[in-house]
């Protein structure tokens, strides 16, 4: 059986193909202006790349903010359930998942069968999301991929106290003008995100094993900061960014 999961997020669109329980391939593109187009594009390109015909695909499940914008899916499910399922598929020992996406961050707890028992999401605010990091990267003129490694070199992380993305940006700008080192500012930004996420996750409360998913999981600085705030190890799979799409593909296998 061959299934596809498509995760149309606010920043990137991801796809994953699962055949007979194994990951056959994954893909990530920018969502851009048109979510529907991005969903179709990532789907068709990945199938082409893997040499799979559309007629070979049994089921497609979409997720993410654009989940209802594509027409070829068999079912649309939320990121919560897909990230839970993806993380469990990749590591059945997982009991908590923290997903930081473009405009949402969420924490969920799973039962021993991988079902989501409960979840919590960020409040109506971009602080603590991938978008927050993007805004900061622009202010600091650093490529987002450089954030993680740079922050690990910080001697004395700055303190970013504002809860608001816009105000935090002006805080960062004033730190820059004071001549504060980039790595300290970046480490401070990571601490600020981690503090927010940890507070949200602790409300559930979460339990080990904690896995982090979503694009922001690629940032080692955020992962380390989160481990410190939670007082728990946080594992990141190589598939972290496409975890939601993998989960969608896994859930697609269960569709009748």
């Amino acid at each position: 059986m061959l299934t596809v999961g498509i995760d149309i997020g606010s920043i990137t669109t991801k796809a994953a193909v699962i055949a007979d329980g194994q990951i056959r391939g994954t893909s990530v593109i920018f969502t851009g202006y048109n979510a529907q187009q991005a969903g179709t594009k990532v789907y068709e390109e990945l199938l082409q790349q893997l040499g799979i015909k559309k007629s070979d695909v049994s089921k497609v499940v979409s997720t993410g903010y654009g989940r209802n914008s594509v027409k070829f899916m068999d079912k649309a499910l939320t990121e919560i359930i897909c990230h839970g399922s993806g993380a469990y598929y990749l590591n059945p020992r997982v009991r908590s998942v923290i997903d930081i996406g473009g405009q949402d961050s969420k924490a969920m707890v799973l039962d021993e069968r991988g079902k989501v028992k409960n979840f919590t999401m960020n409040d109506k605010c971009a602080a603590g999301t991938g978008r927050f990091l993007e805004v900061m990267a622009r202010a600091l003129e650093v490529d987002l991929d450089g954030f993680g490694p740079l922050s690990l070199r910080a001697g004395d992380p700055s303190r970013i106290s504002s809860l608001c993305t816009v105000f935090a940006e002006s805080e960062v700008i004033s730190l820059i003008s004071k001549g504060e080192k980039r790595e300290n500012i970046i480490a401070g930004i990571h601490d600020s995100i981690a503090a927010r996420i940890a507070a949200m996750a602790s409300r559930l409360p979460i339990a080990p094993l904690v896995v982090m998913t979503g694009g922001v999981a690629k940032n080692i600085g955020v992962v380390k900061a989160l481990e410190r705030k939670l007082g728990m190890a946080v594992e990141v799979s190589e598939y972290a960014q496409v975890n939601g799409a993998i989960g969608a593909a896994v859930l697609a296998t269960g569709l009748k």
């Binding site: 903010y65 919560i80 989501v116 999401m121 409040d123």
Partner: protein, 421 residues
Amino acid sequence: MNKMPEIILFFFAKIKKLALRFKKRKKMKEIMTVYYMEAKSASVSGRKVAWITSGGPVEPLIAMDVIPVYPENHGAMIGASKMGTDLCEKSESMGYSSDLCSYARSDIACATVNGGPIGGLPRPDMLVCCNNICGTVLKWYEVQARYFNVPLFIFDTPFCHMGYSEEVQRYVRRQLDEYVLFLEKACGRKMDSNHLKAVGKLSLEGQRLWQAVLATAANKPAPLTAFDAFYHLALIVTLRGTPLVIDYYSQLLEKMKDRVARGIGAIPNEKYRLLWDNIPIWPRTRWLSEKLASHDACLVADTYTSAWCGTMKYIDENNFFDSMAEAYTRIYLNIGVDEMARTVLEMVDMYKVDGIVMHSNRSCKPYSLGQYDIQKIVEKKREIPCLMIEADMVDERSFSESQVSTRIDAFMEIIKQRKGS
């Protein structure tokens, strides 16, 4: 009255016509239209108008033939007609902070422009402010008392974290006497204590009927949803203590009992039963009801509409006036979080709900403050999930559709998973 404006004559004609109509079939819209028109023409008919807070003791006003008018009810109307954002912005340009309650902001702005769905509220002759629902009302009513230059009565109900003391009873009871004196002075005549007793009986009877109406939703499928209750609520809030309320809810109760007997549900295919906490998101009630119905989920009960029949246990039918002190002090928003959680747990059991939807209402701090604790208590004691939605009762700027939509979808996926379907 030497010059009766034409508009008032027009109103009277309308009232008469409508009054004849709703003798046959009592419809909420008509009752409320007549009510507001009567209040708007009160100066012509020689009656007084008092603005009063939603949790305020209204029975003495009814007994004095004063027309009670509710700025909060007006706020809900403004919100439901999606006129809140403009009025909130207007109040902000007047200097009020956007962090203030959106009922207060829209009401304060509305008074200066006679805007909103009914062209502003009828002008008050006096204001009655009871702080059992929040502290904002004190400043809000002071603002309006200055603006309209009318007397203000403040009815102070101390917060009851746990229990109710003798001192509180004495303190609140004494204010009831002052309240009556205030009304007698404002109206220029004495209170008829027998009439007040009769009004008290009607008030209690109205509350019993309202509770009976809400309780029909304990049936599966529920014959009415909380969205219906939000609509039918208007009368128990505004006209409690009048025979009109008894007639209306008696008819509604019959209708609901009939639906139960015939197994008719409020939504086409009720599979999941939810409890709502906090004031509705007025501009979004339709969207939300359709959203939930698309998941076969029915809001079978809520902590909001049930607050208008939540303190009957403190009312002594034969001594309504004295017992009012306790009944008005121990309302849902004036008690500690533990007691609130107990009320929520009782509702969870009575209505057999699968989950709770909590509206963290940016406007209403007393209602929203303890929600995370209540959530924890309920999740622990009943093991059902709670969803938190951040929004506002009137101000649409605090609502993000796609975010709320995703949260509801995820919440429903979990409930479906738990129920194994």
